[in-house]
């Protein structure tokens, strides 16, 4: 029984989640393609996802980003941006703030499984319909309390920042297979590239 539960949580939930994420990702890509490459602003349909996260160091392809961090959202094998307790500032708004995200470490797609492979200087790229937002990791907190909501702050002081800027925060659980602590990675925006007709990825992604 216990063995079956392990199989279920580490394998079956990934199968289900990857299937769901693939479906939703296709929908988003399809919608982007239909809207075409003109200058109309990207349709903001948070339910289908707002874009894709590319983290070469984590080596798990493009991760769809959706609104919210409830297990209902995250169990579909996506990353969610925080709406609570501290609302994330989305990069598309152009405002200074913190784009805070969460995803599963194990099971349900395990999109942030390799978060420990990220180190300072590694790129985190967020792709929207018409922009590549290139972030660079500048701080890592390998273990913190799950009550430490300050890591999501507009200016995450614990990462060493004092001034407002364009930050990104990835959170997941640690150590692997448990949820005792949280693992946090902070990055800062270095560049915003426009998406060209072929969606050529920025050089950080080997484009």
């Amino acid at each position: 029984m216990l063995g079956l539960f392990v199989v279920y949580s580490l394998w079956w939930t990934n199968v289900i989640a990857d299937r769901a994420a693939g479906r939703q990702a296709d929908k988003v890509r399809h919608q982007w393609a239909q809207e075409g490459g003109d200058d109309t602003p990207a349709a903001f349909d948070a339910r289908n996802g707002i874009g894709f996260l590319h983290v070469p160091a984590m080596d798990d392809g493009d991760v769809l980003v959706e609104k919210g961090t409830s297990s209902k959202v995250l169990n579909d094998g996506v990353a969610g941006y925080y709406t609570d307790p501290v609302e994330a500032t989305l990069p598309m708004t152009g405002k200074e703030g913190n784009f805070s995200l969460a995803a599963h470490r194990d099971g349900h797609g395990a999109k942030f499984h390799n978060i420990d492979k990220l180190s300072k200087g590694d790129p985190i790229v967020f792709e929207t319909k018409d922009k590549w937002y290139v972030y660079k990791v500048y701080a890592v907190l390998p273990e913190t309390s799950k009550f430490n909501v300050d890591v999501l702050a507009r200016i995450p002081q614990e990462s060493g920042k004092k001034k407002a800027g364009h930050y990104i925060t990835l959170t997941t659980c640690t150590p692997v297979y448990t949820s005792r602590y949280r693992y946090v990675v902070w990055g800062e925006l270095v560049r915003v590239d426009p998406v060209d007709g072929d969606r050529t990825p920025p050089r950080e992604l080997g484009g």
Binding site: M1, L4, F5, Y8, S9, W12, T13, T69, S71, L74, Y82, D84, P85, A102, A103, H104, R105, D106, G107, H108, F112, T144, S145, K146, F147, N148, V149, V151, L152, T171, T172, C173, Y177, T178, S179, R182, V184
Partner: protein, 53 residues
């Protein structure tokens, strides 16, 4: 328990073996489809967010 099930299944040893297999598969299906998804949020293995709760 397994002995009881074995004795109460109809047919010869082959039919019994086949029925046992089907029973096992049905059990796995019910567990994966209903029991585990229900139990999972109650167990502290999959909280990934920071929050105030």
């Amino acid at each position: 328990m397994y002995g009881w099930i074995w004795r109460h299944l109809p047919g010869n040893a082959w039919v019994k073996a086949l029925l046992s297999l089907l029973l096992a598969l049905a059990l796995v299906y019910v567990l994966f489809q209903y029991v585990f998804p229900w139990a999972e949020p109650l167990l502290p293995f999959n909280d990934v967010t920071v929050d105030n709760q």
